[in-house]
């Protein structure tokens, strides 16, 4: 899935595919899917009801979405996985410095850019026929 989205008025190419979670893990030593699921757990909850862990997660969300956007942007720009695997955390922080607003990744346009690229990447048509696979899908 590849698309061009605008963040802070600048166009960014974002690409997401089955390699994205692997690339994310290799670069940041974190689990892309776990982080996304953690954010889903916050949905609909009021800040005053957050546990201390959830509050930390909520506070860190800007950097987490920036990490996801970085992976998607570099996958779109570079593509070649051997070149992608040469990137370091310093490349991420250099990339982040191009944004004027440090918490740009809490804005709706940036969140939509990341989440819509990811959602389109996970779209499925096939359904499992075995009971076990139906449980996994749900």
């Amino acid at each position: 899935m590849r698309q061009t989205r605008t963040i802070e008025g600048k166009p960014f190419d974002l690409a997401s595919n089955a390699f994205t979670p692997i690339f994310y893990r290799q670069l940041f030593k974190r689990d892309f899917l776990v982080e996304l699921n953690n954010f889903r757990a916050l949905k609909g909850k009021k800040a005053k009801d957050f546990t201390s862990e959830e509050l930390q997660l909520y506070t860190d969300r800007s950097e987490a979405f920036a990490r996801m956007a970085f992976c998607m942007n570099k996958q779109a720009e570079i593509g070649d996985i051997l070149e992608l695997q040469k990137l370091t955390i310093n490349d991420f922080y250099s990339w982040l410095s191009i944004f004027e607003n440090p918490s740009v990744f809490t804005t709706a346009e940036a969140l939509n850019a990341v989440l819509s690229t990811w959602t389109n990447n996970t779209a499925q048509l096939v359904e499992g026929k075995n009971a076990e696979s139906r449980e996994i899908e749900s």
Binding site: A18, P21, I22, T122, A123, Q124, E127
Partner: protein, 43 residues
């Protein structure tokens, strides 16, 4: 599934999940399995 990193970068995660689902569907006990005569009727 035997996919390389390069191959993973060419497919969506949804497509990968579908391949895994279809692989799992292979073990499903279908009520009816088409044979050559069904294919002949179809064409």
């Amino acid at each position: 599934m035997g996919l390389s990193m390069d191959e993973l970068s060419l497919i969506s995660l949804g497509f990968l999940y579908e391949m895994m689902t279809e692989q799992d569907n292979d073990s499903y006990d279908y009520d009816y399995i088409a044979d050559q005569s069904d294919i002949n009727k179809f064409f």
